[in-house]
Amino acid sequence: MSPRSLSLATLLGLAVSAAITTACAQDTTSRAPGVRLGLNYPRGSVPRIIVLPIDTASGDSARTIIQRDLDYSDRVSPIPLDAATLMGITPPEGQEPNYELFAKLGAAAIVQGKKTANGLRMTLYDVGAKRRVESRELSVILVPPVRDAAIRDSIMVETTMREKALKDSVTRVLRTRAAIMRRPPIKKDTRPRRFIVRDSLRRDSAATAYVRRGMQRWDDDRRDSVAEAASAVVTRLIRSDSMVRAAAATNERMSLHRASDEVESWITGRRGIAATRIAYVANGLIRVVDSDGENDRAVTTRGTSLSPAWHPNGRRLVYSRMSNVGTQIEQLDLETGRARSMSSTGLNITPVYSVDGRSILYSTGDEAGTDLVMVSADGDGGSTPQRLTFGRGSDNNSPSFSPDGRQIAFISGRSRFPEVYTMDADGSNLQLLTPFVPGVRTYRTAPDWSPDGRSVAYEQQNGDFQVWLINIRDKEPRRLTSEGENEGPSWAPDGRHLSLSSTRGGSKQIWVLDTESGRFRQLTHNPGARLSSWSPMLSFQ
């Protein structure tokens, strides 16, 4: 080896080790949780991203879900591109993307997903810094392909069984024929021979007819039986398969939402809220819908229920159910579908769980108005409720805990018109929160304490109803809505988005408002949708 080639080798080695070091450094930084990685963009502006196609069996639907989640986060802005363009800019396997090209398209970051054995490998590239920022395998449950082979196999098993049964019956027929044929001639038949021959022929033809009939029946049976067997098997399998696939589809959606939330944290340093659901009321039923508006379904089946609220573990709902003789608090286990009544008589409304999920705070009414009471969430409502307000004939309802659980915002009509008050969780230290001017008719209800603890969203009547936000510290109110009537705000866990009912699109529907950008998007498509409640982050399907 010449000195020259040696130095070349050294240089190469140095270059390689440098490259490795750089790669390691990148990995190290990328592992730091909760840190915004590499992407620099002006404060207040939203980084634009491109989500590349994902090569899974469910293919582009996974990409659609992730791109939409990132869009709905309002913290990043996906650039819409047609399929041909996307195919053109997707780098070949194992290669870095063409950063200049993406920069020209206006992207600050590239999100790429690739199917692996256990889910998706999501990768984030920083276009400006021309490097891979993060790449991690996320467990995503993907819907299995339709089970053609399984259905075929089952049909085979079923038809084989029936075929065997038919063969057995044919064997029986043949045996009978043989027996008839073997029947010995009548002893000492002294009749003339022509009679004997005639009888013998008759026996033969009877046996043949019998066999023919048997064979005919066998053919018919066989045809019917196979058709019947196939249809029974297909029906059964398709039913079970579609159930499996529906469950898998729900799982897939939720796990893709979680992937979106993770990717969002890589880009912005904050986890997204795609893996959440919103409960609401339409036509008297409690319904639950995914944060992207998909998978909307009723979770109660009858009667008129109102005011759903989520348990902090996201697996239970509490709400009030009306009847002709009163309104009761009911808890629903979303996994088992089992409902349990927590009160027995009178008017019981606006329940919420305490922050630890162990108690339910609600409003109970009698002839002397309504007051807030607290009961154990695990009891059967038999224990004596602990009373927190003494409204003396006024209405006290719609409670909302501060995120630390130490305070409660609620509505009271004790100053004649409903206003938002706060008090400590034991009922002491009552404070008026919303600005009240004596003599001026006001109407403020439906408070919801923000997850950062700094403000309370509520609705206020100014001719029509609009959603407002009041800062706890300086008590400065800020109006959030103006188009149509907007009511019943509920905070998303990110403390930035609100779900509310709005008539801005004509009929009353649940909409999502980004309180920072003012962007609205319609969540539900059920006229009369109202009383929404945003779930906590959901870590399960």
Partner: protein, 209 residues
């Protein structure tokens, strides 16, 4: 049956009206004084605390209560006079109509209007004449405002109606109250007329009718 009732009631009406006029004057005077006093003490209206509001409200409430009690005792006497002796006779269609007549409320109010008061005063004699009769009073609201607050408001309307019937001499144990909030509108729609017809209390005969 109803003709004498009208004749007997007539003299009581101006009395009630007069007392209400007095109330309004007293109330508005009180409100004005209250405002003036507060304005001089605390210039920023936002600084008014919950306690002072509650005290003021309690005072106004007590005036209203005393007034209502006065009016009710007069009306109770009239109702008793109208009722005649208790009877086992079947309820006449006329009585049934009087009893099941819906009463209406003002916006966000549970206080009975003059019209509602006289409608309730026509019900009391029927209930007094038929002591076995039990009723359910169902409070309703219009669709304006929070669905949940409206449930509470509906209950207050039913309770206020029950209280007035009790003041007229009907045993409280014979009256059940329930609220439907805005969930069972009598009239669909988002017009002022629909709202007015939905702000109501309905009366159902549970037994003895």
């Amino acid at each position: 049956m109803s003709k004498p009732a009208v004749f007997v009631q007539l003299p009581t009406k101006p009395m009630i009206k007069l007392s209400r006029v007095v109330t309004i004057v007293v109330l508005s005077a009180a409100t004005l004084m209250g405002c003036h006093k507060k304005a001089s003490q605390r210039p920023a209206p936002r600084r008014i605390n919950a306690d002072s509001l509650l005290r003021e409200q309690a005072r106004l409430d007590s005036i209203a209560r005393a007034d209502a009690a006065r009016a009710a005792s007069a009306a109770a006497a009239a109702a008793a006079a109208n009722a005649g002796p208790p009877t086992n006779a079947a309820v006449t269609p006329r009585e049934r109509t009087a009893l099941s007549a819906t009463i209406y409320f003002d916006l966000d109010e549970s206080v009975l209007t003059d019209e509602a008061r006289s409608a309730v005063e026509a019900k009391a004699p029927v209930l007094l004449r038929h002591p076995d009769m039990r009723i359910r009073i169902v409070g309703h609201t219009d669709s304006q405002g929070s669905d949940e607050y409206n449930l509470a408001l509906g209950l207050r309307r039913a309770a206020e109606t029950k209280r007035y019937l009790a003041a007229l001499g009907v045993d409280e144990g014979r009256m059940e109250i329930v609220t439907m909030g805005e969930e069972r509108p009598a009239v669909q729609g988002n017009t002022q007329e629909a709202y007015a017809l939905n702000r109501r209390a309905e009366f159902e005969i549970l037994a003895g009718g």
